[in-house]
């Protein structure tokens, strides 16, 4: 299944990434590794460049410097076809789901199969229903349009779509934002379960301290487009960096990790 080699080393390695929007430098020499089969949380104050980092990694914003290595291949060196091939190895969950509003949930999940694979419509439909089940949506949701779904269901449907081509890397932008605490907790559980069963590698942008505690193996903190600190939750908790102190020991942090 894996068209990309080799099987060792980090799934994604970011080295000195620079991203400019217009003349403003948003990301300025960011480096971190995303290890295989880990769930990495990306945190940082608002405007620190988390979303921009994610968008740059999935190829939506051009890089102005540094190197991004995906499964051992330098992304900048790839030609158009190889990029499309690489893209098929990741799924992206956008903050608002970004389901195609003119298509039903099932058609949304089938979209990529229709684009990139030559499958019979029966097989496509079967796979779509399996994905739907995988993310915990009832089969009845298959024929609804995105506008008819609740926020939590949209997130799940969008996750099912991101999983359509069995990606190895999953990018999530604030997956639990806007969900109630129970829904958010279940979503975190789902991500962990998927990682355990499918061997996914997950990069998750989040503000949700519970997600960090429950789902993430490691955390990367950004500030002003640079790496502030990378490490496990307990390493973050021990840090005496002022922003991390406030973030993890502030009034909203309660007793995570303790």
């Amino acid at each position: 299944m894996n068209a990309l080699s080799p099987q060792t080393g980090p799934a994604i390695s970011v080295d000195g990434l620079v991203v400019k929007i217009g003349t403003r430098t948003i990301i300025n020499g960011l480096s971190f590794d995303l290890q295989r089969q880990e769930i990495l949380g990306l945190i940082g104050p608002s405007g620190s460049g988390k979303s921009v980092t994610m968008r740059a990694l999935v190829g939506l914003i051009p890089h102005d410097g540094g190197a991004v290595t995906v499964m051992g291949r330098d992304y900048a060196q790839l030609n158009r076809r190889q990029r499309v091939e690489t893209q098929r190895n990741w799924g992206v969950l956008f903050q608002q789901g970004a389901l195609f509003s003119s298509l039903t949930v099932k058609e949304n999940i089938e979209f990529q199969m229709r684009e990139h694979l030559h499958l019979s419509s029966k097989l496509r439909s079967d796979i779509a229903m399996i994905k739907l089940d995988l993310v915990g949506l009832p089969a009845a949701a298959a024929n609804s349009y995105p506008a008819e779904l609740s926020g939590g269901m949209i997130k799940r449907a969008a996750l099912a779509r991101a999983l359509a081509l069995d990606p190895q890397i999953l990018f999530l932008d604030e997956p639990t934002a806007g969900l109630d605490p129970i829904g958010a907790g279940k979503f975190d559980e789902l991500i962990v379960t998927l990682r355990d069963t499918l061997g996914l590698t997950v990069l998750m942008v989040t503000h949700d301290l519970d997600s960090l505690a429950m789902a993430c193996d490691r955390i990367v903190a950004l500030a002003n487009g640079k790496l502030l600190k990378a490490g496990t939750l307990s390493e973050m908790l021990e840090s005496d960096q002022p922003w991390l102190q406030e973030y993890f020991h502030g009034p909203r942090a309660r007793n995570i990790g303790s």
């Binding site: 195609f100 990529q112 684009e115 990139h116």
Partner: protein, 236 residues
């Protein structure tokens, strides 16, 4: 542009299903309004013309005028302006909303070129559909003219059609129909580009939609003028 090129050279699919859907939305559903407007405008122009021609006792020439005017100018121009207002704004709003909801980005990360997937079916639908709309507009304009000619100018239908047979040349029909695909192309392109420029807020969506309509109508009229100069130069 690159997307157009890639499809034209068969490197990428045209997305036939999407084309059919857009053709229905953009072209077929515009037929009633184009027909109605052209009918009314055709009637008004004819009434004014008869008023003037009557002084010289050559009311019958209104048929010649209607034949040339409807097919050469009014049909295609009104159709293009209506489409710019009705379908151009819809295209901009639809693509713009997709931008805001990140559907645009979703297409891209799924390895689908959004320009190719969104812009092309719409532009193609307009290029193919505009001659149809122009023809519908011309015929309705002519119908409006015939009705006014009968009741206001006392020209019976059979004399109107008789005269029409002599007055209508292949040239005027062809001139009108040649312009139509270009107008469709311009409206589709401008509307899509405006939609893709939408960024962030719904305020920007509103601005772009307005700008799309204003620009398309302006460009369509300017293009019509350029065509007139061009056809005059080559003597059509």
């Amino acid at each position: 542009m690159v997307a157009l090129g890639r499809t034209a050279t068969f490197q990428a699919p045209l997305r036939f299903a999407s084309f059919v859907h857009q053709f229905e939305q953009i072209v077929l559903r515009a037929i009633p309004i184009v027909a109605l407007i052209s009918l009314v405008v055709g009637a008004i122009i004819t009434q004014q013309t008869i008023l003037q021609l009557r002084q010289f006792g050559v009311t019958i020439f209104v048929v010649d005028l209607a034949a040339i005017l409807m097919f050469r100018e009014i049909g295609v121009l009104l159709a293009a302006i209506m489409v710019a207002g009705r379908s151009g704004s819809a295209i901009t709003a639809e693509i713009g909303a997709m931008r805001i909801r990140e559907e645009f980005d979703a297409l891209q990360v799924m390895g689908v070129d959004p320009h190719q997937a969104l812009m092309l079916p719409r532009v193609a639908a307009l290029v193919v559909g505009m001659p149809l709309l122009a023809f519908v507009g011309s015929m309705s304009g002519l119908a409006g003219a015939a009705v006014v000619a009968k009741f206001y100018g006392d020209i019976p239908f059979d004399i109107f059609t008789d005269r029409l047979r002599g007055a209508m040349t292949v040239t005027s029909v062809v001139v009108g129909l040649i312009k139509a695909p270009f107008m469709g192309f311009l409206v589709g392109l401008l509307a899509s580009i405006e939609g893709m420029k939408v960024a962030g807020s719904s305020e920007s969506l509103g601005q772009r939609t307005t700008s799309s309509v204003v620009k398309s109508i302006f460009v369509v009229i300017v293009a019509d003028g350029l065509f007139a100069i061009f056809f005059a130069a080559i003597g059509l």
